[in-house]
Amino acid sequence: MTDLEKLEKFQAKIDAEDKIEPKDWMPEEYRKHLQRQISQHAHSEVIGMQPEGNWISRAPSLRAKVVLLAKIQDEAGHGQYLYSAAETLGKSRDEFIEELQSGKAKYSSIFNYPTLSWADMGAVGWLVDGAAIVNQVSLQRTSYGPYSRAMVRICKEESFHQRQGYEIMAHLAKGTLEQKAMAQDALNRFWWPSIMMFGPHDSDSPNTGNAVKWKIKRETNDELRQKFIDKTVQQAEIIGLTIPDKELKWNEEKGHYDFGEMDWDEFWRIVKGNGPCNKQRLAHHIKAHQDGRWVREAALTYAKKQKEKQFPPQPSQREGEELEIRD
């Protein structure tokens, strides 16, 4: 079969809503796009553990502590699951982590904002996970099988996370004046970064082209952002918090909320590495990775010793045999 025929068959499969599986032929560009998108998704889950981890030791009740810890554990699990999905495309987790640490791969910019109060645990769950769910629900129908299945599983847990965040916000909003102020402040700080999580306007989005044709992306940035805003505005009203956008208004004709313009200078500044926590997040990840090197080496060496006890190698095999240690 010629490449053109392969491509036609590939597109026909996508058009028929069949999933592409790891062993299927796929255009190199499709593979690369998915490697980038899934690994960045995995990195986001893992880096996202840091801003929330910032409050585990200070959670104000044992129940809140356990719920937060369980939530962060879920995120770690999502990271693990997504790295596995990304690995089906022919690159190892170690390579993806190398790309993260060298700055070649990105993760969601939202995690480059600091979590400054307990209310931020509410805002992150409610808004950040809330925005992520809108995107992930859409991705459940993505054309690549392993990614689509990962999304189905992840969405189930994310909806718990959003409820957990909303519960914190609702609780604070009806608490003391100080608690309510804390909740409003968190909403003020996280609102705009959350709606920018969907990425640039469709008119300015460079990665949309083939991603739509290949059904990697099922809805556009602006469509997803609108969905998120429409469902979140009422949630804020119910608990008596104010979304910090003076232009926010229900548009009867469109059946959607109109909203103000986002600060794209801020968005690009953070994407380019100059957010409040970009350097801190990467340095943290690199330090943990480096601190763990001797542990990983020990585990590999031990495993090798055990294997040798079970199956003693022939003398000729021993020579020059090196342990494969990846960092």
Partner: protein, 252 residues
Amino acid sequence: MTAKEALLNYCLRLGDSSLILGQRMSEWCSNGPILEEDIAMTNIALDLFGQARTMLTYAGEIEEKGKTEDDFAYKRNEREFYNSLLSERPNGHFGDTIARNFLQSAYFFHLYTTLSSSKDDMISAHAVKSLKEVTYHLRHSAEWLVRLGDGTAESHEKVQISLDDLWEFTGDLFEMNEVDELLIKEGIAVDLNEIKKEWIKTVDQVLERATLKKPENGYMQTGRLNAIHSEYLGHLIAEMQFLPRAYPDAKW
């Protein structure tokens, strides 16, 4: 001392060791050597917090002054905590954490095995449930101790030092006072001398597999029974208690 006072103190001992070790384990979140270990260590922290909540809630019931688990966790000062000295040791590097957890988990394992037949229904139920969890914690730390001990020369040396440094805090685990005497007579508590025999067997078995040397029994630090701690505990609880202390009128 009344039986009620003794039981209250006994519950705080059990609850506090789980709480403080849980707090330590949760510090590992996003700092593990591999993602899978982050998940495993968070799991252990979650189990420990669950155990702490059961015992601190029960302590409130025994005391009958309307205190909740959070009153005990967030409103006591360091001189009112009865956790083991071992549980509050800082995480250090991964080997330090593993060695500490191993010594403490082996203790919990034998303690809960015996407490499963305590005459106090709540304590026996708690022991039965916790035993399942600490069995996993013991396995996790023991397997890692073996990997590190019998891994590279570097890991062997590191974890041997961890063990040597922590050893002086193990004597504290087995100390007893009138609380134990009273509750042993009632069939509620267990004789820690008996637990110690089993604990030593476990330690010996695992250290042998790990090719590690059991440290010499030198001077043993003491303090748990009188709520006398290292300087580390004050910082740990200051951080843990920050919000309820800063906003005393707020409910969380």
